[in-house]
Amino acid sequence: MSTSEKYDSIPDTVLDRAFEWAVRLSSGEADEADREAFEAWLARDPVHAQAWARVQAVEQEFRETAGPVGAAGRHALERLNRRRRRRRLLATGSAGTLLMLMAGIVLDGTGRLPGSHDYSTDVGEKQVVELEDETRIHLKGETRLDIESRPEHHRLQLRAGTILVQTGANARVPLVSTAHSQFRPLGTRFVVEYAQDKTELAVLEGVVALEPRAGGQRREARAGERWRTTADDSQRLSRARFRPGAWAEGLLDVRNARLDEVLERLERHRIGWLTHADDIGSLRVTGVFHLDDTETALRALERSLPVRIERTTDYWIRLEPDRG
């Protein structure tokens, strides 16, 4: 019998059964009755034995690396996979930027207005959109933004999440609006964060005029100030515990924030679970962490706070009080 004939002759259901046996026998719980039942199944039909040979061929691939180097091998393969997945996320981000640059060319070439462009980012992802007049817009993770460029200004409708807007030197004014307010910058760099019930503005440079949608009082927010707006009201906030816009530089810049708030932000930049014991959530944290290296961030927390990292797997990390 040639190899290919042999490969074609095993029914799918028999293969499935063979792999179920492989799972059962390797569960660590199989008993004598299981083994007898398996032997009986194996002897019942020559096709069963052929299917079992396939199982063995798969198992053989793992046998060489099992044993002493097995744990390191697993870590290496999972690390590699996480890195690839992260890279794929980044690649999606740059495709969006390219799309917008092409939209800019259409506008310049024909004088026609391009339609509205929608951008969205995933958890832990970020994206930079550069308009043709050098206006730059950074999108934080979990953000949705529509951009429509008109001759006199850009219209930015923020539907979810957070953006950082940096206006170009001779750029058209980017007018940002959310369900609550409109923001008109006067040569500036600023962050707008939209949540269901409120919008927050942080001005990094220059001045932003803030107009509540329902016709509340118009305000001018200056560099260093933070404002919270609802549809009919706006109020000035105290200094932030997380420096606004630090994420655009890939940083988490924290001043006297709660540990549970810090962990929640770090978790968005990891694949897997990051949990903590309840009684350490209120510990206070100050520092600057790199969002693309949360391992180092966690080790820094372990060094500076009375906590230790419990690592069940690379996917599942828990912070516990360090009573040692």
Partner: protein, 166 residues
């Protein structure tokens, strides 16, 4: 290889070698790697039974080169991940340099088998087959039910089988 095919290959080599080396150099940024991989592309052609008549030989060569570069990147990523994973292992635990090559080969084969598998099934299979952990232990660590782990295991083994047989 028949006589005309080998003549064709020589022609390809003379005409496109320098161009191909430049293409690979632009992608890798490394002159030695570009020279090596250019040689590998033509070696790959030499080992085939026949050199096809080509309308667009450069597209064909670039496609082979791309495949080799991807293999090369994958291997380098894998080696780096392995180095990071054995950091801190004692001398007894870490594999000897002679074993290293065969371990890397085996890991590369496993990596190829697991391509496209969802992360949890990948994790479950590796815990079981490389570390010898029992299903109950894996379920506890992940915080999922035993039957979820067993479903993942069956899915993962079947995935490997399909890739291996394909």
């Amino acid at each position: 290889m028949d006589y005309p095919a080998s003549i064709r290959l020589q022609g390809l080599y003379r005409e496109h070698r320098d161009w191909l080396r430049r293409v690979i150099f632009r992608r890798t940024g490394c002159p030695e790697k570009a020279a090596d991989l250019t040689q590998d592309v033509f070696l790959r052609l030499l080992s085939r039974d026949a050199t096809p008549h080509l309308k667009e030989p450069r597209a064909y060569l670039a496609r082979i080169a791309h495949g080799l570069m991807v293999d090369d990147w994958r291997r380098r990523d894998l080696e780096q991940a392995w180095r990071e994973s054995v950091e801190g292992l004692s001398e007894q635990e870490a594999p000897s340099p002679e074993d290293r090559v065969s371990v890397m080969d085996a890991l590369a084969r496993i990596d190829a088998l697991l391509e496209g598998l969802k992360p949890r099934a990948r994790h479950v299979l590796l815990c079981s087959r490389l570390e010898g952990k029992g299903h109950a232990c894996i379920a506890r660590e992940l915080g999922v039910s035993l039957s979820t782990v067993e479903k993942d295991m069956a899915l993962a083994l079947r995935h490997c089988h399909d890739v291996l047989i394909d």
